[in-house]
């Protein structure tokens, strides 16, 4: 065991840092990052295309599929540098979710067709898992796909679909068969969002933002070769994906940067109570960060993310939520004026700390983190099974 970074690792870190500060980095994105302005769809596309241009997009993919094949330490350093440069979060839907499913369970044709576009960010993916009737209990889903000739006909609806309004493709869990056991009869289908019969309706969340959507499917025709793996095996792929999704969901590098920011923002007040709460959060974050490194190392040794990834999801989202609470506490009464997703009109901005309004929006928005991706209660059920062996 040793904790040191090798000469190569440090050089790697330098390269990433230089790249993020280099001329190729999209200037309009950087400007907005620094100002804290919201990014547009195109900004995000430009950012991801920049990553691709540097060869970094497949940071957690095997080389075989165009990935970097980086070591856990390199992945760790890469994500830390992105966060330190206040880069946008890499969108997980293509890269961390459907991508690994396709390269693990897809046909050669599917790999050739979809993986390059994911890496190049030519396609924006979204996730069609939850339904109005099935949140934590995914297996109870009702969206139906019926095979007619060489097409499936899909009817039903999905909900809480993040950024569906921007998406080109959606990966869906659909029911292809009704069986006794709810987990059976579920299939994993890739659907073009431009297909006739798809309708996207916004859901406004309590922070006032439009991030999630309902997606309705009415007689949507989906070519049968867009089925992943076998019919009825969708549950297996879904569980594989969920375990991968949990990974990185801890958001450690971003939280680290945000804690430093909070410390700077409140440095003048020197509030002992707040400072101690921040210290306790930092300690928890250190523990989580090293737990993530241990998990990464285990995976690099050929392990598979299991119950450990549930720890990352649970504790990661708890820490994220606590951090938003500390921002709100620091901002005090100045959280009151409501900014809205567009930000205040520059001629009409309330006084008080500038971070106040975004803080409360973030606090409200982040309540979702303990609900999505399998609620934290479900994660605890998963761990309970694993440690109790029942």
């Amino acid at each position: 065991m040793d904790i040191g970074f090798s000469e190569q690792d440090l050089q790697f870190q330098e390269e990433i840092r230089a790249g993020l500060n280099g001329a190729e980095y999209p200037a309009h994105v950087k400007e907005k990052q620094e100002k804290g302005t919201a990014l547009t769809k195109q900004d995000l596309i430009d950012f991801h295309k920049f990553l691709y241009s540097k060869g970094w997009m497949g940071y957690n993919w095997p080389e075989e599929y165009g990935g970097t094949g980086w070591s856990p330490v390199q992945i760790y350093l890469f994500l830390n540098e992105l966060a330190a440069a206040q880069c946008p979060t890499i969108l997980p839907f293509g890269l961390n979710m459907v991508g690994p499913v396709i390269y693990t369970f897809g046909t050669q044709e599917q790999k050739d067709r979809f993986l390059p576009d994911i890496l190049e960010f030519n396609t924006w993916w979204c996730q069609g898992y939850s339904e109005p009737g099935s949140g934590s209990d995914l297996a109870s889903l009702k969206t139906k796909a019926v095979l007619e000739g060489d097409h499936y006909i899909v009817n039903g609806s999905k909900t809480w679909t993040t950024l569906a309004q921007n998406a080109d493709w959606i990966f869906c869990l659909v029911r292809t068969e009704t069986t006794q056991k709810k987990q059976e009869g579920i299939s994993f289908l890739l659907i073009d969002m431009n297909s006739p019969g798809i309708e996207v309706k916004p859901i406004i969340t309590i922070d006032g933002d439009h991030e999630v959507n309902s997606v309705f499917f009415t007689d949507v025709k989906v070519p049968a070769d867009q089925l992943i793996g076998e019919e009825g095996k969708g549950w297996t792929y879904a569980k594989f994906l969920l375990a991968h999704e949990r990974f990185g969901i801890a958001g450690v590098p971003v939280v680290k940067v945000q804690i430093d920011k909070l410390k700077k923002l409140t440095a003048d007040y020197n509030d002992a109570d707040l400072n101690k709460k921040i210290a306790e959060l930092e300690i928890d974050l250190e523990a989580l960060e090293f737990t993530e490194l241990r998990t990464l190392a285990a995976i690099a040794e050929g392990g598979h993310p299991g119950a450990e990834s549930s720890i990352l999801k649970i504790r990661g989202t708890e820490i994220q939520q606590r951090l938003t609470e500390l921002y709100v506490e620091a901002a005090g009464q100045y959280i009151l004026p409501y900014e809205g997703p567009e930000g205040f009109d520059s001629n009409r901005t309330p006084s008080g700390p500038e971070y106040a309004s975004p803080s409360v929006a973030q606090y409200l928005n982040y309540r979702k983190t303990s609900i999505y991706g399998g609620s934290n209660e479900i994660q605890k059920n998963i761990i309970a099974k694993a440690i109790l062996g029942v």
């Binding site: 949140g135 009464q333 009151l336 209660e377």
Partner: protein, 368 residues
């Protein structure tokens, strides 16, 4: 000692409850939020007609001479329905200061408030002083033979709709409370929506000319009156929080009994059951401190201030717990703006931030 509400108090509660059931479901409220004023003038007129606006005022000023108990009854019910009408700012806050001041004209102003024709907001907060309201930079100074008011006041509740303001300012190192018309020269008012669907304004005073009759109180007297106002205000929003907690856990119980996952209502899951029990317990404990603080204020107990701080701490913690659990147990629906449940969380967050947050009042209580 007697812990029973009187028949009159129970009737008042019934009346407010019925009003909210009839006029204040979530859809009604959504429509009110979309209006320019941010509250319903019709409702306000009804509040006046039902006599609610007269509740805390003395009989000599045309009021009902009711006290803290009746106010908490009103606010508990307001809290359940998330009522946004500016009762706190226009009746409780400004009313408390006016009644305790020596302003020659106060009776006639209060009469107009009671009639629902006049609104006054208290301007106490500023951009850089946090919860130390008496450290304000807004100052009243002598310019030639005139008194001039300069400075910025922020977070003035319902300020965009106010006909007058009561401004806390500093005059040669001592506090003053000044009554100012909304349309005087040198005053500009900018109104914002608040996170919980209400409104607040920022006031900027530039050499606003003040005549000495507009000074409601000054020095120690001003601070005593102001502190009294803060205590009653904390009591009212705490009562509102208790109502909101009640509604939150009842709605959550209802939802979990209806929502099915894994082929059964999710209320079957022991972890969720105990979570709801925690919500219930915190609600009851908050209600207890609310009653204690109410009765102490009612009897002018010198301990009342400490209990108010204890109450504010409990409201802060319990509101957070109840609000967050309610959202969590509603799952995705909890974070949707189209369900009421997330709006309770927003109101709890706003309430915690006002008049000193949880940590502020822990420190105040500790230093007692």
């Amino acid at each position: 000692m007697n812990l029973n509400y009187s028949d009159e108090q129970n009737m008042l509660r019934e009346q407010v409850l019925k009003f909210c059931e009839t006029n204040y479901d979530f859809i009604d409220r959504e429509k009110i939020l979309e209006t320019e004023a941010g509250y319903s003038q019709d409702n306000w007129k009804q509040f006046a007609e039902l006599g609610w606006l007269a509740v805390p005022f003395k009989e000599e000023n045309g009021g009902f001479n009711f006290g803290p108990i009746e106010l908490t009854v009103l606010f508990e019910e307001f809290g359940k329905a998330l009522v946004v009408e500016p009762y706190l700012s226009s009746v409780v806050m400004s009313g408390t200061i006016l009644e305790n001041s020596n302003h020659s004209n106060k009776s006639s102003i209060i009469e107009k408030i009671i009639a629902g024709e006049h609104q006054i907001s208290v301007a106490y907060a500023e951009p850089n002083i946090g919860y130390n309201f008496f450290d304000c930079l807004t100052s009243l100074s002598t310019g030639g033979d005139k008194l001039l008011l300069n400075g910025t006041k922020s977070l003035v509740l319902n300020g965009g709709n106010a006909d007058q303001f009561i401004v806390l300012a500093n005059q040669d190192g001592s506090s003053v409370l000044i009554l100012v018309d909304f349309d005087v020269d040198g005053l500009s008012v900018q109104s914002f929506k608040t996170i919980d669907g209400q409104t607040c304004a920022e006031l900027s005073f530039e050499n606003v000319s003040i005549d000495s009759e507009s000074i409601l109180a000054s020095g120690d007297e001003a601070e005593a009156i102001f502190n009294k106002m803060i205590n009653v205000s904390i009591l009212c929003i705490s009562a509102e929080a208790v109502g909101a907690m009640n509604a939150s856990y009842m709605k959550t119980v209802q939802y979990t009994k209806e929502r099915e996952q894994f082929s059964q209502p999710i209320s079957n899951f022991q972890v969720l059951q105990h979570r709801m029990v925690d919500m219930f317990i915190e609600t009851e404990l908050t209600k207890s401190l609310l009653i204690k603080a109410t009765l102490q204020l009612d009897s002018n107990d010198p301990e009342a201030g400490n209990t108010i701080s204890a109450l504010k701490v409990q409201v802060g913690k319990a509101g957070r717990l109840v609000g967050q659990h309610a959202v969590q147990l509603h799952g995705g629906m909890g974070v949707s703006n189209e369900m009421s449940i997330g709006h309770y969380l927003k109101r709890f967050t706003a309430i915690d931030s006002m008049f000193g947050n949880t940590q502020h009042h822990i420190n105040k209580y500790q230093a007692k």
